[in-house]
Symmetry: C2
């Protein structure tokens, strides 16, 4: 079934113990689409300014990513982010950020995208996520990401959004903050009471938890990585693998959700193995399948 993503396109500068990647392509919609396109065609929505040095057409060449929803604003500048990772590399430190086009109005949804069935609303102001959602005809499964800033500053908008979506994807710190509970298993249950029938909580190297409204749970360890060169985009790649698999199956029963979490985990493990999109672009669908089987074997007892 059709899969739509709305999110950012960024010019990133990332510093990790393994080096510096200057002015490279990033952004949630980019990582998501690259990851999801292993599984299913993707409908892409995002905005850049006239200064964007990347041709997304070239970046996604050979992948089924429909760029009808890519908007180039001649008088605007592209979103820029500079960040660094140290020590455990679990969290990015933002060194500099220029919102630029992200502070303007969101892109218009192309008419032909309005019938999308699977939808991922990457992290942005919840009021914008609601407006994007309202342009859709009859989606089957909507997932959204959010972050600390909106949980703290825009709780009313976020609560309205949560009532309109099927699945929220958060990291552990955000889940604890949103639920006001340090225990992640309870936090997941409390978040589900706010609206979505499914909560996915990502815990970085500790893996992820998924819980549904019936109380069913699935826990998955991350793929054990000896080399983590650049964690940027891991969360959006996870979401891309997760939603890409679900859309490819057209199903959201719990068995499919579990397998989707596993695919999301594996795709993200390739993302963090190199800077920017290099970890994903050098990966094949076969590599993903192979690593999924390795992970399954490693977890069996």
């Amino acid at each position: 079934m059709s899969l739509l993503v709305t999110g950012s396109i960024g010019i990133d500068t990332v510093k990790t113990p393994f080096g510096v990647s200057k002015d490279c392509l990033g952004g949630s919609a980019v990582y998501f689409s690259m990851a999801a396109s292993f599984f299913t065609p993707v409908r892409f929505m995002g905005v850049v300014g006239a200064d964007c040095p990347f041709s997304l057409k070239k970046v996604f060449k050979g992948r089924k990513v429909d760029l009808t929803g890519l908007e180039v604003r001649e008088k605007s500048k592209t979103f820029r982010w500079a960040g660094s990772y140290q020590g455990l590399m679990n969290e990015a430190r933002t060194d500099a950020v220029e919102l630029n086009v992200l502070a303007e109005s969101p892109p218009e949804m192309p008419e032909k995208f309005r019938d999308s069935k699977f939808v991922f609303l990457a992290n942005t102001a919840p009021i914008l996520q609601i407006r994007l959602l309202d342009q859709l005809k009859k989606p089957k499964f909507v997932a959204a990401d959010t972050m600390n800033m909106w949980i703290n500053n825009n709780p009313a908008d976020l609560k309205r959004l949560l009532k309109k979506i099927d699945c929220i994807i958060l990291n552990d710190g955000e889940a604890r903050m949103l639920a006001r509970d340090d225990n992640l298993i309870r936090a997941a249950a409390k978040i589900i009471k706010l609206g979505p029938s499914i909560a996915v909580i990502k815990k970085g190297e500790a893996g992820s938890i998924i819980r549904n409204a019936k109380g069913q749970m699935f826990i998955l360890s991350a793929h054990p990585a000896e080399i983590v060169k650049d964690p940027t985009g891991a969360g959006d790649s996870f979401a891309g693998g997760f939603m890409g698999y679900l859309a490819s199956r057209g199903k959201t029963d719990f068995a499919s959700l579990k397998k989707a979490v596993a695919y999301g985990t594996v795709v993200a493990s390739f993302t963090i193995s190199d800077f920017s999109l290099k970890g994903l672009t050098k990966t094949s669908k076969r590599d993903i399948g192979k690593r999924l089987n390795q992970l399954r074997l490693m977890l069996k007892f």
Copy 2:
């Protein structure tokens, strides 16, 4: 096969968000033995002072724990520890500690314990762990625990110990400190190079990792607990379930080690469900088997 434990017996006072447990029974050898005795008979070694208000004979009544190695020193005082847990409850804050008998010489090993095949050296000064080990005739599988203090203050003794044991059981912070590496997968490999052929790294609610000298790995999530009343003894209960299962099988191949980690994980999940030993004493072997199957199901995809 025979299983020997040497460790502490303590009078604990523990404060958690769920309440206070004053002057209750604790200590590594006590938690370990309670956990291991679900699987196999245990040979117990530890020292208390004349002030000890607990009868270990009564505590272990109906369980196969041989207390020949329990020494009561009439002129000494029992080890006391007071600690508290807050927020994520991942780490104890030590509020007060009186080493008492633990600062004296360790107990003598009873002659009939010297042929023990499976041995667990609970956390104490590595030089004492070596002395205990030297009294054994021909152990088959020796595991030890250690802590930050010894890693920092007694690295030479600890390195000698590591060359004499088969398995080291550490938490994530200790593993990072010992290996001087923030990445736990690499840290496990580096620790194995120091001597033991197996490293077990416990990550609290994030589960555990086991790695052997051949590079084989197993990752297990913790049992998802909505209620954690008192994490005290979780690590020693994990070690007890782990070593108890191995000793009961008499085997240490990787398949057995994986299952041992699973049993350790499940036994520890009962420990943390209530204060002091209450979580374990109200549990049956059948409960453990049932939860192991639940966990296996929850991890399957």
